[in-house]
Amino acid sequence: MPLLWLRIALVLYGVGLLYALMALSRGSHFLDHFVFPCVGSGMVLQLVSIVETANEVGHLSPTTVHDVESLLALILMFFFMAIYARYRTLSPGILIFPVVFLLTFGAAIGKQPPQFASPLLRNGWIFVHIALIFTGYAALLFSFAASLLYLLQERGIKSKQVGLLTKLPALEVIDDIGYKSLLLGFPFMTFGLLAGAAIAASTFGPTFFRDPKILLSTAMWAVYMILLWTRWNAGWRGRRAAFLNMIVFLVALGAFAANYFSGVHGFIAQ
């Protein structure tokens, strides 16, 4: 049953994907009215699917890679809705919908992967760690999306080719979305990392710190903090800030991908 909900959600997110593709090719606006109800109901179904899965296995922590993907997609959608509620713009969807679609696609269609073997997952703290970190990642992805849109829009206005970008929100609005996402993500990331560190320290002892995943994550956190500091103190905005946002996101992506090299974090390998 959870898989069925997820597949219906996938179809609904497909409308979002279509919207994103059409927004980039300019022209038609006919999806503008459907896209929000579609992805909204997709999100509800995905939530249902996740809750049902958790009910079946008896705990909240994801037990397969697919659960992880689905959870991340849901958090992204939550973010999207929050931004929509505040700014009334669908534009972040241009980048977010494809990501949500791909994540959900992986979760709904892909082969059932092996379950995570680690007994750690039955620890409730792991869920807290995952949820916080994922929210942080979602925030970073949004700030990345906003930066990309900002650069596009800024380039359009500077080079006086405004026609192409009629659909995007104003520069200051995009900048604000990027900045607010970044601000919001930071505490989640910080507490998520602290929770992770606490679990790792109690499980593996002090040696966990030399793990590549942990090192990268710490580096990412440091870059993140520096970025926030420059925006705050030096008043960096606009282009420069957009580039920095993108760097933080890429580092975070690296840290996310480091699962494959990590001994501490490689749950499947164990």
Binding site: K158, K160, L171, R237
Partner: protein, 450 residues
């Protein structure tokens, strides 16, 4: 029936001619009711705006409505000197023209929205005096529908096409809402004032005004409830402004890159928008290279205007297809309407015969029971309906054919039907049938629905 339109517009006639034919609002009711009563004219409507005057009329008997005669009488003038300015359209052409006018394809600024409202007002006036009541009514109502379709299916009214509105649009692209933004007016002049008015109308907050002649700054500031600033303080106060509109007569740029960099650091990199409408330019092009500063000079703005106008032209092309489609649809509907009077008189003709025969039978048979009455009624009705079925459906099919008139003619001659269409053109006959027109009209409509 026949539609005809005669008029002058901004393309065909200079303002001296347009004002000769323009009809002020106060006289419009009178003019349009006189038009509808003019010999040979059944219905009429007049659209009179500063860019166009259009006289639209319908005659009932197939001959041309004498619109020229009306113009001659109404304006008490000989039309010959104006011949080269007047355009005349009939039937399809008139329908198409009206659709194009209502859809703003014939406007000076293609896609401007006012014209539809003006046509609606003209229609309201004509309706109020009873000058439109049947087919012309259908035509004009259709024109509103077409205009709506054009507006919703094309982007013809989509983008701004004046320098001032483009400036506002760009400012919105940068700042989102203009609420609470500070606007700096550097210099004076019509363009500055116009752009400022647009920005204020869009919500811009504080206004600062600077001019080499301080008194002029004070005068302009008073207009917008703004603050005048002495010219030597321009660079020290400019960082406060989000939007700078500049149009001075300075021979060299007054805003250079280093100024912009100073402003940005004072503003903690909040963006700034320079609208430079001066020639020679007041803002050095290098300023546009500073992060967060956006400069549009008069050529840039005009390029946007031009691109929007060409967008509109493309959309107008699509709109023309819609119009063609609608003209075709309207015509086929009209042709169906054309056979309706024949069908109605055919039905009336046979009904009269039936009634007469029933009366004769009744006279011969004396009193009958209710059942007998009902049986005779049913039998005669049945016969008539069965006989009528084929001719009526033939007429309806024929209506879609361009040669429909010959079939209609033939049916009329076979059944010896009275041709009401000729009488309607004759003024005395018209007044005698006037009382029955509304009744006939409703019949037309019911028959058309069958």
């Amino acid at each position: 029936m026949k539609f005809m339109l005669i008029g002058v517009n901004h393309n065909t006639a200079p303002v001296e001619v347009r004002e000769r034919f323009a009809i002020p609002e106060s006289k419009l009711s009178d003019a349009v009711s006189r038009l509808a009563k003019y010999p040979g004219i059944e219905e009429g409507m007049i659209v009179s705006t500063c860019n166009r005057v259009e006289f639209l009329a319908r005659s009932a008997n197939g001959c041309d409505p004498n619109l020229r005669g009306y113009l001659r009488d109404f304006f008490q003038t000989d039309l010959e000197p104006y011949d080269k300015y007047l355009y005349e359209y009939q039937e399809d052409e008139a329908v198409r023209h009206l659709f194009r006018v209502a859809s703003s394809l014939d406007s000076m600024v293609v896609g401007e929205p006012q014209i539809l409202g003006q046509v609606k007002e003209a229609y309201g006036t004509a309706r109020a005096v009873g000058a439109v009541n049947s087919q012309l009514d259908a035509l004009v109502t259709k024109a509103f529908g077409v205009a709506k379709r054009v507006r919703s299916e094309t982007a013809i009214g989509g983008s701004a096409v004046s320098v001032a509105s483009i400036a506002v649009e760009l400012a919105r692209k940068i700042f989102g809402s203009l609420e609470g933004k500070t606007v700096y007016l550097v210099g004076a002049g019509k363009m500055i004032e116009l752009a400022a008015r647009h920005l204020i109308a869009s919500g811009a907050g504080k206004i600062l005004v600077v001019n080499r002649t301080y008194e002029k700054a004070v005068a302009l500031a008073a207009k917008f409830d703004g603050t005048p600033v002495p010219f030597d303080q321009l660079h020290t106060t400019c960082a406060k402004a989000d939007i700078v509109i500049t149009s001075t007569g300075a021979p060299v740029a007054i805003f250079r890159r280093e100024h912009a960099e100073q402003f940005m650091s004072a503003r903690r990199n909040r963006p700034m928008f320079f609208i430079d409408i001066a020639v020679p330019r007041d803002v050095d092009p290098a300023v546009n290279k500073v992060d967060g500063v956006f400069v549009y000079d008069i050529d840039d703005l005009q390029a946007v205007v031009a691109s929007h106008i060409s967008d509109r032209k493309k959309e107008a092309q699509r709109a023309e297809y819609i119009i063609e489609d609608e003209v075709r649809k309207f015509n086929s509907r009209l042709q169906t309407l054309e056979v309706v009077p024949t069908i109605v008189s055919l039905q009336e003709h046979l009904e009269t015969i039936r009634q007469a025969e029933i009366d004769r039978v009744r006279g011969r048979l004396g009193s009958m029971t209710a059942e007998q009455e009902a049986a005779i009624e049913a039998a005669t009705r049945g016969i008539i309906n069965k006989i009528m079925h084929t001719p009526i459906s033939t007429l309806k099919t024929a209506a879609r054919d361009p040669e429909s008139t010959t079939v209609i003619e033939l049916v009329r001659r076979i059944f010896n039907l009275r041709d009401t269409r000729v009488e309607a053109g004759d003024p005395p006959a018209k007044s005698s049938t006037e009382s029955s027109t509304s009744e006939e009209d409703s019949k037309l409509k019911t028959a058309a629905r069958d």
